[in-house]
Symmetry: C2
Subunit: 438 residues, 2 copies
């Protein structure tokens, strides 16, 4: 293992002409901090003279460069970016433990660069030999880091598939990391569910997120294959108080009561795996649940406003609970309306999901809206790509069960699903999930 | 027909409580200029007191509000926005001329509002009767106009379908408005091709573009139905000199030599239909060609850099022609390399498409990159959603034929196609395409 450079402004190593797309394992863990915004990466030996191979960095984008290395992976409490490219991968047949470790090392190296606004390798799109395919696919040249975060995790099948421990890690599987149980109304499609590995790329420029997934997919060639993927726009949560609460495709504000990045007590209680939790290698990590939730928006759009409000338990304009106040007023579930009925209906989404009725359970949501074209009936294939991070998958399971009587279920279909262990953050010189292989 | 208010700051009319989603024909043509950024639309009679129904406008977004009314439709020479939602519609069975006119009037009214950052009607998402479905689906509440433009046009089938003149307009059909001929390598899918009408929504926020198409689709209910649609990100052209040239998913700059909005002579020659052209109702209009071009990006990514450059005829890093200079240097097709061969290969894309070899033909391109998930082989379903505006569809046909020997064809598949007449801009008090029905 190569010792990682310690200086944040160390120039990226030159892999040499003619080396393209092959192992970067000797270089993973390169410590490029946010302070490296000014780096101009030198052209490789084979580069055309005068061609700058580094991605240009917009001056005003420096603020949206997030560290890749840290105690936790970025992309969980990071201020939610505008765009998502999510990808689920399956390991390919005849791969072994060494292949998996090498893939994670290669992904770590590439992610540590791309999140800093750099190309996927030192030679990038045009700095390698003209007689070789470029390392970097090139469509992000000239674009800023755009707040890119890349988050990785491990699905239940990575630990054991059909009873086979392909990678010698079955004994390390977190007890709670199992395929989610069936829920009422599930209409899950296998080709939009599950996966051995996930990659969540979030950025304020969709081309930057797409570039990341494309290049990670390319790096995985021969070892892991894209199983399914999802583009999302219009975040449906916020993780900082300064982010306005966005709206989902039902037209309602979504994420008002989300756990904020500043609430470290809530994060420790509900999101981060504690060092006292099993297994030890997950300490500082989390669990991701993804649910692709198709919305029957044409049907919803025909529901009268008062009924929409009643289903959600908040008013559509302001997002205030129906018990009164503004968006950030706590709901008062004891309040009644003029007729003496509960102001916030007992079947409303906000009440069914509220910690007060769920033993204090909370999750950190990080979803996005999506539109995947339209169906044969001329209806937009649209909905919510729900993403939540929690200390244990059980939190999601219990909350989802609590929603079984949610009237909103008439207007949604869960069509995709997955759960993954999200290892803790990466230390410089190491790779994502290293603790699993210690 | 209601006379349109002439004052740019006229408040939006109140449609009255309980009127929801029905005809807005009496109100189309509302003249809301860019100067109306500060309008606060009053709540309808049935609105909850204190609820603001106007969409909030970000202070710094005022500059990206484009007039809906004008000599030409917006969204053609408008500085290309970051996001696209394109939709093709078919008129439904048993609709007649009045239905078509009414739809165009309703669409005009809604588009004239949404492009100004307003809700789809005066009562919007929450200003109508609580006992009625809202007029506006609501997901754009709180979002700025975001540079939204909405552009409309008419396909060949609108004028005549299977020999039937459904709307009494067959005699008005432009001679050149016919289904595009087949091109070598076409692999067109009927469910991603054609359509009686198109709507092109471009905005700097994808949620704003999606909101526009969703609401226009909703307004069309019972009259026209979404046939196919496409989301795009990462514009692949520029229409102003101040816009940096973006990159397509081959990693190359795209749109370097595009016609700029400032080049009125070129626009008049190549893009706008002249008043001396037939038919008269198209004067000031244009023709749109859409081509969904799937890129075999994994295959392309394995091509060596020198070959990629040779296929395009420009270098990947800078975008300069292979004859030398920088991105904006004119290609010198007579230049030779050290071996005496043409510096810009005769089979290169830039040469095959260059006006010098095509009788001076030019088109205005306005395309976007797209990613539609992935296929069963784990490959991203990605490519270029090519959009071009031209004075006659023949310009595209001739250029596309000139590309028949383009080596790039090995790496692309045309999977969708359409051509539409784009009527001139709308005058306040009128509706899009009114001249067709005069």
């Amino acid at each position: 293992m190569t010792e990682a450079p310690s200086a944040a402004d160390a120039p990226a190593p030159d892999e040499g002409a003619g080396v393209s797309g092959v192992s970067r394992r000797g270089l993973f863990g390169l410590a490029i901090g946010a302070g490296a915004a000014g780096i101009a990466i030198g052209a490789g030996a084979g580069a055309t003279a005068g061609v700058a191979v580094g991605r240009a960095r917009a001056e005003d984008a420096a603020a949206s460069v997030y560290d890749f290395f840290g105690a936790h992976q970025a992309g969980i409490t990071t201020p939610v970016q505008d765009h998502l490219h999510f990808a689920s991968f399956d390991m390919m047949a005849r791969t072994g433990r060494d292949d998996l470790v090498a893939l994670l090392q290669d992904w770590t190296y590439a992610a540590s660069r791309m999140t800093q606004g750099l190309e996927v390798s030192a030679t990038g799109a045009v700095g390698g030999s003209p007689e070789a395919p470029p390392d970097d696919t090139g469509e992000a040249q000239g674009l800023a880091a755009s707040g890119l975060t890349i988050t990785f995790g491990f699905g239940p099948t990575l630990f054991e598939l059909d009873g086979v421990d392909r990678y010698g890690i079955a004994a390390q599987r977190p007890v709670g990391l199992v395929k989610l149980p069936s829920f009422l109304g599930d209409d899950l499609q296998p080709d939009e569910s599950g996966g051995d590995l996930f990659v969540q790329a979030c950025a304020d420029d969709p081309q930057v997120a797409v570039h990341a997934v494309r290049n990670l997919s390319r790096i995985a060639f021969g070892r892991a294959r894209l199983r399914w993927s999802q583009l999302g726009f219009g975040r449906t949560s916020r993780t900082t108080a300064s982010q306005a609460t966005p709206r989902n495709l039902f037209g309602f504000k979504d994420g008002t009561a989300n756990i904020l990045a500043s609430d470290s007590a809530a994060l420790d209680e509900h999101v981060w795996v504690a060092s006292s939790d099993d297994p030890v290698w997950m300490a500082g990590g989390s669990y991701l649940v993804a649910r692709k939730i198709a919305m029957l928006i044409e049907t919803w759009d025909r529901v009268r406003l008062s009924e929409q409000d009643a289903i959600i338990g908040r008013d559509k304009g302001e997002g205030a609970p129906l018990s009164g106040g503004d968006e950030f007023t706590d709901p008062d579930f004891t309040a009644t309306d003029a007729s003496g009925a509960a102001a916030i209906p007992a079947t409303s989404h906000v009440r069914l999901a509220h910690p007060e009725f769920n033993d204090g359970l909370r999750i950190l949501r990080r979803g996005y809206n999506y539109v995947d074209g339209n169906n044969d009936l001329g209806r937009l294939d649209a909905g919510l790509f729900f993403l939540s991070y929690q200390r244990s998958p059980e939190q999601f399971v219990r909350l989802q069960r609590a929603l079984s009587t949610d009237v909103m279920n008439e207007y949604i279909r869960h069509v995709g699903s997955g759960v993954w262990a999200v290892p803790p953050g990466v230390q410089p010189g190491s790779f994502v999930g290293a603790g699993l292989f210690a």
